[in-house]
Symmetry: C2
Subunit: 208 residues, 2 copies
Amino acid sequence: MAYKENYPSRLLEDAVDAISTLPGVGRRSALRLALHLLKQPQENVHHFTSSIDRLRDEVMYCRECMMISDAELCSICSDRSRDRKTICVVESVRDVMSIENTGQFHGVYHVLGGIISPINGIGPSDLSISRLVDRIRESEDAASMEIILALSGDVEGETTSFYIYRQISGFGVKVSSLARGLGFGDDLEYADELTLGRSIVNRQVFRP
Amino acid sequence: MAYKENYPSRLLEDAVDAISTLPGVGRRSALRLALHLLKQPQENVHHFTSSIDRLRDEVMYCRECMMISDAELCSICSDRSRDRKTICVVESVRDVMSIENTGQFHGVYHVLGGIISPINGIGPSDLSISRLVDRIRESEDAASMEIILALSGDVEGETTSFYIYRQISGFGVKVSSLARGLGFGDDLEYADELTLGRSIVNRQVFRP
């Protein structure tokens, strides 16, 4: 056979190569997915790929909180009933969705877009921390604001919390962090809603 | 929030809907994959989707064996060193790749494209069985041919094998099926009775 791993077709091998770049998808699973797609009606496959292309090409980020959005201002930031004095700082879009699912939080968010991680080459300037500082600086009454640091309980999360705390503590804002109902090292994404909801309600003053 | 499951963006929800149609991918995994793709460089995402589109739009099937191919004749059928008198009948493209990986088979294949399954509404006419019959009929010396029925050992596989056997036995071809027995390294204690029984009935001369 002319191809490594006995691929009968260059097109199939290219698709398997591409699909196996997804996290958690090995080459065997990628082959299974490629052959599944090959069996689907052509218009279904085109819908599948175009919905991914459109997400990547057309998605917007809220100019206030950096959340994924279909408009310049996301649906949370444009909601007049939300408490704009309470900003919950999270690592990612998924964290916002998880916290929204608890129904326990009525403030607004700030999506960092990652976490400080020297090992992965991610520093403070790669995140939207300066934008958070601007949000606080631009507010009329910083002393009445509360910033909730809702980051993971691992070393990188703690490092990021501490870095942000140093950047914003001078403005006189109240800084809190999630109650440690979450086990250390637990990922926000995998926490059950009750635990996560309690963590928001019982948030504590940040003591570095 | 305006969207079910609190999706912050219609584009994101559409992509998650599409990705979660893949077998074995739930909505939570689909969200994780969508957000992963969102973080990748735009050209990588376009390469990902276009390789899938090209597979679906441009792939060909070998006119002899119905294997996925980049040409009218697949690389196995066009290989002069393969024994064209021995045809191994398999359910899918993956089975061809599995058998090729063993390096033990030097004949050619016939890919059915599925298996007879009344419960899934798949009948003989949905498979390439008549094309297999044609291949045997068109051969100059059917009596010297061997057809290996390499289908699964479950009810659907047995049904399909039996149906094909009835279609081709009149041509005087030799029909065989895969040896069933204990796998290499299998423990006798954990083998099911049917497999163990077959292993005893079909015992082979010991060649140390």
